[in-house]
Subunit: 396 residues, 4 copies
Amino acid sequence: MSVQNPIFIPGPTNIPEVLRKAVDMPTIDHRSSLFGQILRPAIDGAKKVFKTTDGQLFIFPSTGTGGWEIAITNVLSPGDKVLATCNGMFSQRWIDMCRRHQLDVTMIQQAWGDGISAERVEKILAADKHHRISVVLATHNETATGVKSDIAALRRSLNATKHPALLFVDGVSSIGSMDFRMDEWGVDVAVSGSQKGFMLPPGLAIVGFSARALEATENARLPRTFFDIRDMAKSNALNGFPYTPPVGLLNGLKLSTEMLLEEGLDNVFARHHRIAEGVRAAISAWGMQLCALRPELYSDTVSAICVPDGFDANKIVARALNAYGVAFGTGIGAVAGKVFRIGHLGSLTEAMALSGIATAEMTMVDLGLPITLGAGTAAAQQHFRLSIESTQRKAA
Amino acid sequence: MSVQNPIFIPGPTNIPEVLRKAVDMPTIDHRSSLFGQILRPAIDGAKKVFKTTDGQLFIFPSTGTGGWEIAITNVLSPGDKVLATCNGMFSQRWIDMCRRHQLDVTMIQQAWGDGISAERVEKILAADKHHRISVVLATHNETATGVKSDIAALRRSLNATKHPALLFVDGVSSIGSMDFRMDEWGVDVAVSGSQKGFMLPPGLAIVGFSARALEATENARLPRTFFDIRDMAKSNALNGFPYTPPVGLLNGLKLSTEMLLEEGLDNVFARHHRIAEGVRAAISAWGMQLCALRPELYSDTVSAICVPDGFDANKIVARALNAYGVAFGTGIGAVAGKVFRIGHLGSLTEAMALSGIATAEMTMVDLGLPITLGAGTAAAQQHFRLSIESTQRKAA
Amino acid sequence: MSVQNPIFIPGPTNIPEVLRKAVDMPTIDHRSSLFGQILRPAIDGAKKVFKTTDGQLFIFPSTGTGGWEIAITNVLSPGDKVLATCNGMFSQRWIDMCRRHQLDVTMIQQAWGDGISAERVEKILAADKHHRISVVLATHNETATGVKSDIAALRRSLNATKHPALLFVDGVSSIGSMDFRMDEWGVDVAVSGSQKGFMLPPGLAIVGFSARALEATENARLPRTFFDIRDMAKSNALNGFPYTPPVGLLNGLKLSTEMLLEEGLDNVFARHHRIAEGVRAAISAWGMQLCALRPELYSDTVSAICVPDGFDANKIVARALNAYGVAFGTGIGAVAGKVFRIGHLGSLTEAMALSGIATAEMTMVDLGLPITLGAGTAAAQQHFRLSIESTQRKAA
Amino acid sequence: MSVQNPIFIPGPTNIPEVLRKAVDMPTIDHRSSLFGQILRPAIDGAKKVFKTTDGQLFIFPSTGTGGWEIAITNVLSPGDKVLATCNGMFSQRWIDMCRRHQLDVTMIQQAWGDGISAERVEKILAADKHHRISVVLATHNETATGVKSDIAALRRSLNATKHPALLFVDGVSSIGSMDFRMDEWGVDVAVSGSQKGFMLPPGLAIVGFSARALEATENARLPRTFFDIRDMAKSNALNGFPYTPPVGLLNGLKLSTEMLLEEGLDNVFARHHRIAEGVRAAISAWGMQLCALRPELYSDTVSAICVPDGFDANKIVARALNAYGVAFGTGIGAVAGKVFRIGHLGSLTEAMALSGIATAEMTMVDLGLPITLGAGTAAAQQHFRLSIESTQRKAA
């Protein structure tokens, strides 16, 4: 693997130069007023990216997985009922975590490759006359399968049934890259991390809580201290932190959110969509299928690509890395060996995307897959050419 | 505050140039074999710094506070009895965490400034005929008061009473700077972080578990997922991580432990002692007292300095920062306003230490304290001069 | 232009991560012994890359252009006769410099795209019975046209005629990337810079002098002080510098030469050839011609590509930069507007090369050139696939 | 030597964090418009620091020594008469360079430690009825002796005699740190470098030319190409460079000048004076003398300190480096062994200055000099305390 090549794992992403420099700070006194000048805009910037003005946002030295734990331990108590859809590795892991924390999970199993079914959720909520279900869990973007679910539809289901359950959303691989609207969608806890749409090294869990979720924290009896948002809220109010803060990453987040907001979130999303469409054009030209079952499920941050039956997808990832020094994502969980993944999120250019597509192409030909060299690349090139024209026409 | 000045808070420390560069890495594929080449030596190096060969070491994207939670949630169950000494802010916070996690804490209150009394611990253990106490908690170095406790003595007390309680030690501000011997002292869980003796940015909890502590994890019923060392152990065995690892910091830890071991831990400790003695010589020349009650309690990583009655110690910290751009530590908890702290750990030179001492001196004179300009500096200079002579004589 | 994209100008090159970190140094005392620990291995390493043991190597805070001036001012006197071939912008500029320094230049004009004619040189030398010609100037690799000349043949011509003229070679865009043998080829002054094969930022002229060239310095009457190698030699002998040295770049050169030598110069050259052949396969698939007239002239560090008559080549460079953020080289001098250039030197991978090729392809299609999208990319992919196979077979 | 210690050589200086990051750039296409966005503000910023609006400013990849050569070769012809004062190593080297370039130098020898005598200059100019002297050379700040000369007085002498000679000033170790007024003082060529007041790594010669000096370039017959400002002017006018530009350093200069101008030049000068006065207070408390003969000659960027007769000043520099890892400047030239130097320019704080003073103090006591530990430090502390009070009072 050459660190000069761009990376195509579905996060952590390629880190922009300026963000690397923002993170790489000398030690400052985190109890001085300097710290507030970093923490405050980092929080405020992240709120804007989460699209919440009503909610409160917390940043912990942790990861997205920690973010899930923050979500459940601050709101729930042992035995609480949770309704969750499993349609991939990350939704499944969150469900496992709930169970390990003694929550009572009703699981809706969807095919890996399918999205959350708002209908199935709605049916179960409607049947829950006594409102025993406290929380609905949803993974906005299943990184394992490259599947985006419709959170707005889920909100409509909650509303339709007038069910008071809270809505927790894993937006780890969507927020900052794909449209996400915490307030508008009525998300009660939204979870993200530093290393995807925010283009930073891993090390931060970024979590938004709605007013209702905050209220619920007072009665939550799952033990937590490190992840307790009450301590965090108290310290943050004084521009402080309940323990040693990861100052460099926070400084990175401050700049990252400035960059995203300056570009304009809609432009950021459109850019991700454009690059993703190029990758999908290549996949289609290769005669391959996405793991995601239908176009409306296609993720703009990661594509999981099905290989022919009997072919081990991991070989592609291994060959690309060993022969060409380029990293793609393996399939994980139920689709291990059946898909390989191209991450296309963060600060990615056409030129970088094309180097990934062309390398995947070489690799598959090396391994005897029936691919025409250049075919996928040409399809992506054509998409990039035409879409950049239209981008420039629009801008003009 | 000028980022060009060295920093004198008791951690995070001044980060050596090479460690900043080691942490500031481009993204690599953490599922490739490259990751094991970072993780494995980081773990092995940290084990040597902890002085454990029998134990297992885990690194989490968290902080020392997270390390405490790792210690208790992996070993204990609600209602378990813990015996702990409170002699400062950090021992107190750990006790609070235990209580919030529904543990039953027997607290031995010592004066802030005093150390752990092995005698008092021994008496309580001896009285606990039915061995109801599961764990003894100890803070090796109380960062709030600059007090080092004698962990070897604590082990002797446990042994003398043949009490089977496990021994958990907070070594956050001692390990890597002061003598610490996990195996020899029979420490069952040892907790540290990246940002003190390891001279890195914050973001890692580094935790050692003895065989007995590991065994206990199977029956521990405190819920945990993010902090579960069983998941971590399983992933680490395959050179992996249960979630996105903080690769840059791990790479920093790899190099940091190499640096410490190459210098030789005894030399590292001697260096810290030498610098600390210089700071204490200055304090003494100022006619001031340490918060630590007796010389054997003096910490080699941080000095908490008592100010005259009625004088607000925070003024010193504020003035030094605002007028001279130099950061010292405020007093916290029970000694807030009564002490200020000089951190003297990590990669500190005589020249750096003297700049801190001279600045503290100016600041105190500015504030009307009866200090002679240059007096403390001269005392430290004399100590540095004579001790460096003897270092050089020894080396020759 | 996105700084995340690789760059395809014919130097400065993409700088490897480790070299950026080596250059980015805090200030050290350049009069202390630390400096010698940087300067000495930088010089020794560069000598190995120049393949000289007999010669002496000097490093100046300057550029390749400064290197030319070092070559002529240290050896020659006003009115001295120089024989030089002009076959591109850089050979021409060196000739101009000679004239501005009052040297008497006999210029052999070759077509831009052609190489140095050893035959023509030999003929002139043979006719110079009185050995009035003091120096033969040669540009090993004409960066403007992507033409490599045969320096060994030139040496044979000098030998055949028994002409005592010194041989000065501009190896700015060849040394460290293509085979260069200072001693074996009898090169008397060899000139390079930091920003090409050495993969560093610009700022260093690196110049080798043979024993004969050194001898000649004593009688050289062109005035020079900053560029005087006698002062440099005197200072270097004491591990010093005649003025403030560019310590960071020297530290980078130390590491850069270590990297090149560890990889093995032959492997470095083979790698450049492999990448260059991929680029040329693409050019051929586009149905385009190189500016270089014959295969034996093809440069492995830069390709100058002829565009159809009447088409302005600068448009390609502008469009690639503006639409896709990728930098290629424009044509300069006599071929301005007629060629565009792809630099393929330094630390370049297949994935990076493919991103450049694919981007050039998109750009040319955008501009209406009769290119099939993917065609050049596929040709390069095929070359990279097959050649990597053979590389791996050889290594196995 | 520890790279964590501040450095006290009289340049290169301690490089501020943000400037290191500005210099450490990935490669950009220096023929794209991006380059102009760096070059233009770098030039404009430097002009403001030079205080010239009438003049033109040029930046070369070189050093201050190269700057001298730029000055003379662009304006003068062999045999031209130059009047120069020698009062230290750097003025002497410039004179040597003139002679090596076949200029006819009339040298006024002043004692090392003395400044330029405007009276002696005036007398000679007055006697030069036929205006044979083309240029008067002056070193604004003699780095070897810590002596500042009065350039305004020199201009008055030129004016008084109505002599048309041009005035060339070496401002390498003054510009950006001490008051310098190119236009107001009628300086025709002003020379500086990147590594002193501009706080950057070495590698740039920064040179200002007045309209009269520019005019003179047309008739100057000293050969130059690399250093020819006509080529530079032509290229700069198109936002280009005549050869590969040192982009990172130029980007650093852009930011450095922004920093200096934002702080305000008067504040920058006052800060340097304040720190210098602190150092001088320490020297005085040590009972030692400056090499500079009179207070009006005292340099605010470097102090050369005389040691007792028979004592080798180099021992101080060696001991400080070897025992304490702190770098001071040795005496050079006529005062080698007789003085050691403390550089106090660039981005230096009180805390940093005190660490240097305290280390020098320890070192001198180690070596048996009759110094009281803490005495110099206390004197500097007192000065810093009082002067910061007055600074804050003024600001309030």
